[in-house]
Symmetry: C2
Subunit: 343 residues, 2 copies
């Protein structure tokens, strides 16, 4: 059997590694007989987990590594020094072309830095943005960039808009994705220096469907598909959404548990509530891709379960099948040509 | 009777003006016999509202104005052209010293611009920040700056930290308020250029209780009292909190109403839930003050009810009583002296 996609899985990264990671990967293998997974990590530990399940051994490979990068380590130093860590070896396997993509629940910083340093950017890509899908009332939006490279320039944001549009069209399946830039007001004249400079460039950009500014208040409504912003602001949006959702739901729960009457009510409400809140669960859509690299790097939450791991693996498969990287490079080349012709 | 505080109320600003605005103001007057309110707006309309209530006429003054500034107008232009608008005349009354403070539910942009242009900054204040209180699990935190002046410099942020600390100590009553700067990681080395430059300045600042960085995820937890950030990011945080809270609660509500079983449960849950969610209602604390001006300018939501108006008026009274402006000026003078001595 020919395997068309080979995915590197960092078996040692995250709070639930290797247990949930291996479990999720095996689930993915069972559903897709045409993919292969290469686990990077402590061989004995990975094998002990694999023994719990039945799977086709032809679909599995293990590369033994002796080190692990923890979340407390300085990312750049860890990437440089821990040459035999599961993450570093996995990233190198993508760089060499042996694997198409890597999924890791390990240190976010190390994934971001390692992705850019070890895998490297595609030709024409100025910066590799981290682009998680954020849940909205109507589905998901792509928030691009939430990465580690702050203080972006306007031309970076324009590329983010282009890469994000390709991703939403071909991975999430949205035709003509609507692109907006995060701003503090709807008018074109509003914003900080970066937004004011970027706005007209996005407006001119023929290859995307730019719809203007979006105020943070409207992000949860889900009326745009690609939300472009600089990494510092993107990070604030992403983290605040996670934090506030957690806090609000715990306040709601606390309220429900405060009296006997409300406790009975809570029992009756629970199943229906669980179902609606599921629409707000971004893990259904996989992890956060680091776009614009020579191979896909997908960061999943440190607390990822088997489900998120499995979905991230499918995300990698779609990425390969939809030839996202090829499309990004074509697109950037075209955009470049267009700019030069216009001059 | 001597009135120790006179508050200008923009009777024409906001969705519920003049009805709710006048109602809230009268409620405040009844509770505090030692304050006076001056309404700015259409005299006939204000009087028609006032007729609905009984109050001490000695506490009330009306200044007739013929214009109104709408939210669709460009703030700077509106402030300049509509010289007889309720907001402009009210702001001038603060500038002249006739009133101590102004409360308005009108155009945010016009309040921000007008406050700075017409009232003017206190000596030593580089920028006037808008500092709303945001609800948290444990009470409220002051988010400073959410205003209109983006692209701040490090020394602005240090002043925001100082002004915010004074406000939280003397208005909200928090001893030694904890100050943190919004960042994308907890380490000092993290952040964008602005945060990296500001961090050591805040750390050195002896007059505040700086506790380091705060990630957006932790803002709703309420572990710090003064959250310092540049206006663009502050605006994103404020608006996203409002938007997400609205969306999540509507999703929860929808979930509760989706089946017959859950509808019965919702009835039982409702009173307890309402009580806990009240802790997340920032309008209990009044409006968002624009700090550092020669007189207080308080912006309340466009949709403000009588309750928010009343609370904002009390906020102005506390501001006067606690001599916040005098303290800010003293503080800044001291900080300035300290810097010069250190050199």
């Amino acid at each position: 059997m020919e395997f068309h996609t080979k995915i590197a899985v960092d078996a040692m990264g995250g709070d639930n590694a290797p247990g949930e990671i291996v479990k999720g990967a095996v689930e993915a293998l069972k559903e897709r007989k045409d993919i292969r997974i290469c686990f990077f990590g402590d061989k004995d530990k990975v094998e002990a987990e694999l023994e719990k399940y039945s799977y086709d051994p032809a679909q599995v490979e293990i590369v033994h590594t002796t080190e692990e990068i923890s979340c407390d380590e300085a990312p750049a130093v860890a990437i440089k020094k821990k040459k035999d860590s599961s993450l570093v070896v996995a990233l190198r396997a993508v760089k060499s072309g042996d694997c198409d993509a890597v999924v890791s629940a390990g240190s976010s910083g190390a994934i971001l830095v390692g992705g850019q340093v070890l895998v490297g950017k595609c030709k024409g890509v100025k910066r590799a943005p981290l682009a998680p899908l954020v849940p909205t009332e109507k589905g998901v939006s792509l928030l691009i960039d939430c990465g580690a490279n702050v203080d972006a320039r306007p031309e970076h944001l324009v590329q983010f808009a282009q890469m994000g549009s390709i991703y939403m069209e071909h991975i999430v399946g949205i035709k003509k994705p609507r692109v907006a830039i995060v701003n503090i007001g709807a008018e074109e004249a509003k914003g900080n220096a970066l937004v004011k400079e970027t706005y007209p460039l996005l407006k001119e950009c023929k290859t995307i469907h730019f719809v203007g500014s979006i105020e943070a208040r409207d992000i949860p409504k889900g009326d745009v598909d690609v939300i472009v912003t600089e990494a510092f602001v993107g990070n604030v949006i992403l983290k605040l959404e996670e934090g506030l959702a957690g806090t609000l739901l715990s306040v709601v729960k606390e309220g429900m548990m405060s009296t006997l009457r409300s406790k009975i009510g809570a029992l009756l409400v629970k199943p229906a509530l669980k179902k609606t809140l599921k629409t707000f669960d971004a893990s259904e859509y996989g992890g956060a891709p680091l776009l614009g690299l020579k191979g896909l790097v997908v960061k999943i939450h440190g607390s990822s379960s088997a489900k998120e791991t499995r979905n991230a693996i499918f995300q990698c498969v779609s990425f390969k099948e939809a030839e996202i990287n090829e499309r990004i490079m074509q697109y950037l080349a075209l955009a470049q040509e267009k700019t030069e012709t216009d001059r």
